[in-house]
């Protein structure tokens, strides 16, 4: 047998059928559902008289619209409420397991999948959400799909999908102190661009990736889509097995040990070929901050806002000019001089326990800057509870940061958490698109520690000097 990449092994193991002139049909091991991209899919099933094929492989939660205020308070946005109610109704009618707003297992769909042990190495995972790439951190092949495909998976437990190419992103060296998984992925996107990964599955390899915790690996894989990649993956290892052991929906006891033996065979074979290779030296990285309106528009903290006049390519120059205009930034401004109105620590990128700990460590015993309003939004009800058991909520509250209830929150502002026009936010989320966090809002993507440091200083600072 010729050597295979991890992706090829998982893909080949999931091909159900391949008819000539048609895309391969692949089996889906885990389908995660949320309220935004599913109502039309359930309607489609209803109209065609179809049912959900595998209720045991389908899990739903409410995350995008849910307010992050106290659970005793109602959802006041009528349209959001209608969408949340539709999920309740659809899950009840079709028999899908739902972790609703009040469930202790509720949370951002890409946080609860791994955290509850649903996501496992070797699985195919889909969700009607582009950040499904997160789950690849456990050695799964995980992709975001549209609503028509959600309906297809609900009805058939399969997907018609063209086979992507493969790309190895090798991150060599050791990560310096104060530089995080978020900085690795921002640097990668800065290097290959927001189109760099299109049509490819990225496998992240190398010393710096191996040394990341599972939480950090999920941050890296989460933003694979921001490089345009179909998916991101990291081969499972002892870190993965230690993370999964004992999780509620992971195999238990002897079954777990047997599963680990299977998972060990997933890693890319020596000599297997990727279609592309990109290399990065982690030891040279600094904390990163985006200055523009896509995640590839990024600079190290010691850097400056670029000058469009220095850019030769006309399309790139124009898009940089437009970005600086939208962001209200002058060319040549040191990143550290950019003042901040809001801080958002949260989202499927950075709302896991390690992220909250990193932010808490920075703000402990300090005070939030008078001109800054900071929100800390845990990724799930379970993580919120775990953080509170460690006293992180108290650290945030004493520093004047707002400790909230779990949800997607201000990553995309479908709930009441949004920026006002012109407000500038240091955000641990994944997209800095125009208006992403609220119409006219300005987003700078950073790590949790960098966001926390900016909350104290009122402007960007190098967390390593903080």
């Amino acid at each position: 047998m010729p050597p295979k990449t991890m992706f090829e092994k998982i893909w080949d193991d999931h091909v159900v059928a391949q008819e000539p002139g048609e895309p391969p049909v692949i089996y889906i091991d885990l389908h995660l559902v949320h309220e935004v991209t599913s109502p039309q899919a359930f309607d489609g099933l209803r109209m065609a008289g179809r049912k959900v094929r595998r209720l045991d492989l389908t899990i739903a939660t409410a995350d995008h619209n849910t307010p992050t205020w106290d659970l005793s308070l109602p959802v006041i946005d009528e349209i959001s409420k209608k969408q949340l109610d539709a999920l309740d109704r659809n899950c009840a009618e079709f028999g899908v397991t739902l972790y609703d707003r009040f469930s202790p297992l509720q949370g951002i769909v890409h946080i609860i999948g791994p955290d509850l042990g649903y996501t496992q190495p070797g699985k195919t995972v889909v969700c009607g959400d582009s950040h499904t790439s997160t789950h690849g951190a456990l050695g799964a092949f995980a992709i975001g799909i549209g609503t028509s495909e959600v309906e297809h998976v609900l009805a058939t437990q399969t997907l018609r999908s063209f086979k992507p190419d493969t790309m190895e992103v090798r991150v060599n060296g050791a990560l310096p102190r104060g530089v995080t998984a978020k900085d690795i992925i921002l640097a990668i996107i800065g290097k290959i661009g927001v189109y760099g990964g299109v049509g490819h599955v990225i496998e992240y390899t190398g010393e710096a990736i191996r040394n990341l915790s599972m939480d950090g690996r999920m941050t890296v894989c989460n933003m694979s889509i921001e490089a345009g990649a179909r998916a991101g993956m990291i081969a499972p290892d002892q870190t993965t097995y230690d993370y999964l052991r004992g999780r509620q929906f992971a195999p238990q006891g002897a079954d777990f040990d047997a599963a680990v033996e299977r998972w060990k065979a997933l890693a890319t074979d020596p000599g297997a070929k990727y279609d592309r290779l990109v290399e990065l030296d982690a030891s040279e990285l600094e904390p990163h901050v985006t200055w523009g309106t896509n995640p590839g528009m990024v600079a190290p903290i010691s850097g400056k806002v670029p000058n469009p006049a220095d850019i030769e390519d006309e399309a790139q120059r124009e898009s940089t000019e437009r970005a600086l205009q939208y962001m209200d930034l002058k060319p040549g401004t040191p990143i550290k001089d950019i003042k901040i109105d809001r801080i958002f620590v949260g989202a499927c990128t950075n709302a896991r326990l390690e992220d909250l700990r990193a932010a808490a460590e920075v703000v402990k015993g300090k005070k939030c800057h008078d001109d800054v309003y900071a929100m800390i939004v845990p990724g799930s009800a379970k993580i919120k509870k775990e953080a509170e058991e460690e006293g992180l909520d108290k650290i945030f509250e004493e520093a004047g940061l707002d400790w909230r209830v779990a949800g997607c929150s201000m990553c995309l502002g479908m709930n009441p958490d949004i920026l006002s026009p012109g407000e500038r936010c240091a955000s641990t989320s994944n997209r800095n698109f125009e208006g992403r966090q609220g119409k006219g809002g300005r987003t700078h993507l950073v790590s949790p520690a960098m966001a926390a440091a900016a909350a104290i200083a009122g402007h960007f600072v190098d967390v390593r000097d903080f």
């Binding site: 159900v16 002139g21 991209t37 582009s130 399309a315």
Partner: protein, 197 residues
């Protein structure tokens, strides 16, 4: 699913790179539980001013382009989210074909499920259409998926294009993917039995 065979309609130029799904349709409009009715949300941040009035500088508000059926745009169109609301908004507005040098993967897939043709052409040809559309507001373009050709009335533009045969077949015939896959139920049952699922 909706089919796409051929259309003739006004082409609007949107000469920007990396047009993301949050620009095509901002998240605030994703709260609808319907599959249609997204036409007013299309490009809303660019189309409307803060007070809700039309932004006269945006291409779809300019004379000649308002009834566009074809959009020609910069590379990596549709990057970002998986929201199928993006092709729904384009389709509901009346735009059934988007021409670019490249598309984001999920957006590209989603178009084919909704009778919208995302047409990939080489940079030189995209540029030719872009310049013609900018110079001559209201110019019509014909796109024939069956014959794999794009042209304008004067035939100054006349382009043959390539497209994956399976994708073309699905779009031309408006095939119901779920119906097709359900015909493979035995294969799915076998797969599940083989894998102890």
């Amino acid at each position: 699913m909706d089919a796409f065979t051929k259309l003739t309609g006004v082409v609007a130029p949107l000469d920007r790179v990396n047009i993301d799904t949050d620009q095509i349709i901002p998240a605030v409009y994703l709260k609808s539980i319907e599959r249609t009715g997204f036409e007013d949300a299309l490009f809303s941040s660019w189309r409307y001013n803060a007070d809700g009035s039309e932004n006269p500088d945006f291409v779809l508000n300019k004379p000649g382009y308002r009834n566009a059926n074809v959009l020609v745009a910069g590379p990596n169109f549709g990057c970002g989210s998986s929201r199928e609301h993006a092709p729904w908004a384009l389709r509901d507005y009346g735009i059934k074909c988007i021409i670019s040098t490249s598309f984001a993967d999920i957006f590209y897939n989603n178009c084919f499920k909704n009778g919208v043709l995302p047409l990939v052409l080489p940079e030189e040809q995209v540029r030719e259409i872009m310049e013609k559309a900018e110079a001559d507001p209201g110019i019509e373009l014909s796109v024939d998926l069956v014959g794999q050709r794009v042209w304008d009335e004067s035939e100054e533009i006349s382009i043959s294009f390539e497209i994956d045969a399976a994708r073309k077949d699905a779009l031309v015939n408006g095939l119901d993917d779920i119906g097709l896959t359900l015909r493979m139920e035995n294969d799915i049952n076998d797969y599940e039995a083989r894998h102890g699922l």
